[in-house]
């Protein structure tokens, strides 16, 4: 019976060239390839993306500002089992109503150390509300060669846009 609960993947979208990847939500899929296809159907039915990443949710190390306050010193202990350093992506939610947004990368030997470095390197004047870090190697991006076939068709479907319907004008002309 348990045939609906595949792994969960977090979906990140780049909306325009040069803009940072943003977290948009998640999908379930048996593998990263299907996760990308599901992500396209769920999050890009309208012109909304030029590129997407999927990352297994279990690979994301997440801490809210509140958790960092409570747990910071405890987390430092976790760094005992060191592995080789590797690059991690750093995301944060800087605005209360915002979403996780890519800031850059750090090199670290563990998620907890990556978090520490992220907080040290990227905290601005106002501390972010929440942080995410994950190893770069967990990201599956769509093949740039597929970008057109994935995202271009949405541009032709203007009937999906509310601006295609002139109901305000129609109602105004009735009231005259």
């Amino acid at each position: 019976m348990n045939d609906t609960q595949w792994r969960r993947f977090e979906v990140f979208v780049q909306e325009k060239p040069g803009t940072p990847y943003l977290d948009v939500g998640s999908v379930h899929a048996p593998d990263a390839e299907m996760a990308l296809l599901n992500a396209r159907d769920v999050f890009a039915r309208r012109p909304a993306a030029i590129s997407m990443w999927v990352v297994p949710t279990t690979a994301i190390y997440s801490k809210t500002a509140q958790e960092l306050n409570d747990l910071y010193f405890e987390q430092l202990q976790l760094d005992a089992q060191a592995e080789d350093a590797e690059p991690y992506y750093v995301f944060c939610k800087a605005k209360s109503a915002g979403t996780q947004t890519l800031l850059g990368t750090v090199e670290a030997i563990s998620p907890a150390q990556a978090m520490q470095q992220a907080v040290a390197a990227f905290s601005g004047e106002k501390a972010p509300f929440a942080w995410w870090v994950f190893p770069v190697r967990y990201v599956t991006p769509n093949d740039p060669q597929d970008a057109d076939s994935l995202y271009a068709p949405a541009h032709e479907k203007s009937f999906r846009m509310s601006t295609d319907f002139h109901t305000y004008t129609a109602m105004r002309s009735l009231k005259k």
């Binding site: 609906t4 999908v27 899929a29 039915r45 509300f129 846009m161 109602m171």
Partner: protein, 321 residues
């Protein structure tokens, strides 16, 4: 402590301090994110609301989906198909928002398929004519927009973000429906009669979408206190009436309520009694289409089984290779 809906609230000193800090954050307009401390009752209320909301999006595909093959033109067919796809997407946004609170999508789907989950009553009514597609988009989606615009500002981050995405798409749903209603209202006598009949049938179910009257809605005080809702059921219903009644009148359509009147003093449209007996009957599973909707959903789940199995087998083969 919080009216009639109090769950088990631990009264220890630390919990009390946590609760005060939590409520202070909400008062400052901060969003609560997964990982942050939250009262068990806040989590419970959100899981209840978000999962019901997700189920409503999923079951909500069915009444309109029935008209995809019978849409009167290719353009209308593409529009309707796009709308129904959106509702499937909305269901997914919401299941995933609920998952951030510690429930699994699978549990929620199983509850729906087992007939244990609630979803919006409005989807237990039949779509008899093409005009129903117009009236659902215009009235039902507009009612949903009012509720969802409020929830887009709610205190739980993942729910608020899902709602922002949904609201952007719902505007298209409402306008395509309104567009159909405007055309039919300006059409032949037969088309006008068809759209009037659809309004007559959908009026009461739409008003009920906002939920029971405030005096009969025990969750509202705590939902407002914790920033999940900012308006009550009756307040939202009134916004709906004050917008829709003048528009339907301008279209030359009537509203099936002999008590409907404009109150000069308050500037509001007032209505006669809502058929709450019928509402509770439908909630209990005795609406005109409850059984049909559940049967269709179960059938769809079963029909998709081989696809899920094939995908799982392929993924397994890839990892083995």
């Amino acid at each position: 402590m919080y009216g009639t809906t109090t769950g088990e609230i631990d009264e220890t000193q630390e919990e009390q301090e946590r609760l005060l800090a939590f409520e202070a954050r909400i008062a400052r307009g901060e969003k609560i994110e997964p990982g942050d401390w939250m009262p068990a009752e806040y989590r419970r209320q959100l899981i209840r609301m978000i999962s019901q909301h997700a189920h409503s999006e999923i079951v909500g595909q069915l009444p309109e989906g029935a008209w995809i093959t019978r849409a009167p033109s290719l353009r209308r067919k593409m529009i309707l198909l796009a709308k129904v796809q959106d509702e499937a997407g909305h269901g997914q946004y919401l299941y995933h928002a609920a998952e951030t609170l510690g429930v699994r999508r699978e549990e929620m789907l199983e509850a729906l398929l087992a007939g244990k989950a609630k979803y919006s009553n409005v989807f237990n009514y039949p779509t008899l004519t093409w005009a129903d597609v117009g009236v659902i988009g215009y009235l039902v989606d507009f009612a949903a927009i009012l509720n969802q615009t409020m929830l887009a500002r709610c205190s739980y981050g993942p729910y608020a973000r899902a709602m922002v995405r949904i609201c952007a798409e719902e505007n298209f749903h409402k306008k395509q429906g309104q567009d159909i209603v405007i055309r039919l209202a300006q059409g032949t006598p037969c088309q006008r009669a068809m759209v009037q009949d659809a309004i007559n049938r959908w009026w009461q179910p739409t008003l009920m979408m906002f939920g029971p009257p405030d005096h009969d809605s025990p969750n509202t005080p705590i939902l407002k206190r914790w920033g999940i809702k900012t308006k009550t059921n009756d307040e939202l219903r009134q916004v709906f009436l004050d917008t829709i009644v003048p528009e339907l009148h301008a279209l030359g359509l009537t509203i099936p309520d002999p008590d409907l009147r404009y109150d000069e003093g308050s500037g509001h449209w007032l209505i006669g009694p809502i058929h709450w007996d019928e509402f509770w009957r439908v909630v209990r599973g005795e609406g005109p289409c409850n059984k049909e909707r559940m049967a269709a959903r179960i059938q769809a789940h079963e029909d998709g089984r081989w696809v899920r199995q094939a995908l799982a087998a392929y993924a397994q083969k890839q990892t083995a290779a």
